[in-house]
Symmetry: C2
Subunit: 131 residues, 2 copies
DNA sequence: TTAAACTAATACTAAAATGGTGTCAGAATG
DNA sequence: CATTCTGACACCATTTTAGTATTAGTTTAA
């Protein structure tokens, strides 16, 4: 069971790389080489980050990407949800119609507690704290 | 992103069912029917629980399964690891040889913190607390 | 003005994890 | 000895994750 997938991992590394580079545009290719990430895979990841407004892109020669926001405002939970979707419990807690004993489920309560903690720990961690 | 898969979920429900039934052996089929779980799937799940020593089985007619331990001694973390494997971070933290910036990785620290909490919240939760 | 170096967008394949089914053998019981 | 169970697996389906490729369009610099 993995808490963090490759995509999220790569995204963090790429953002870390960018954060050391100020306002210049860096090509995805360079990042991929430097961080040992498959190039086309990283491009797709960058596009997600771009659409999310976390990095800005510039097309054409000498183009590339750069941070669009202060690393201190980017939280891990944002990245995790971006690439892994919202943190859910198990299906029975989502699809209310299926589960018979949903109302009285103690596990649900417990897990929601854990979820809240997850948000506090990794979730609220800022990108700037990681680099 | 799911923290708990169907298998773990089903296992918890089945154990919950058993815990209300004392020392009698209950057939997997009955549990499956009662809890709305695909029968053959549950059988496979039970075999895991049996091998783990959490339930005991009795073969033959009028056979079935029953709890082999006190529900208070079964922890969620045990079930999760049984069906979803050990909680890992991302690969880079496991395969030491691959990741370049492993030593200084702040994310690793953060996530280990979160992991510890996860253990505390869902992990240490006892089966007996859920039923 | 055109080749090179980029991003945009998206379709595609591969591999792994999860969910679920089926079968055949053997044990207990009535 | 038929029935009702578990044991032990092999098998298939679905979903998620990982990774590749392709075609189009933008910018720059020689
Ligand atoms: S909500 Fe479905 S078992 Fe708890
Ligand atoms: S250990 Fe690999 S990026 Fe942190």
């Amino acid at each position: 069971m993995k808490l963090i997938t490759k995509q999220t991992d790569y995204a963090v590394r790429a953002l870390g790389y960018l954060s050391g580079r100020g306002d210049t545009f860096i090509s995805s290719g360079e990042i991929a080489r430097a961080e040992n990430i498959p190039a086309s895979f990283l491009r797709r990841i960058m596009q997600v980050l771009i659409k999310a407004g976390i990095v800005a892109a510039r097309e054409g020669k000498n183009g590339g990407v750069r941070l669009a926001v202060n690393p201190a405002t980017v939280r891990m939970i944002q990245l995790i949800e971006l690439f892994q979707g919202k943190i859910e419990l198990s299906d029975c807690m989502v699809r209310k119609d299926i589960c018979p004993n949903r109302r009285t489920c103690a596990l649900r309560t417990k897990i929601q507690q854990a979820e809240r903690r997850l948000f506090q720990d990794i979730g609220k961690t800022r990108l700037s704290e990681l680099i």
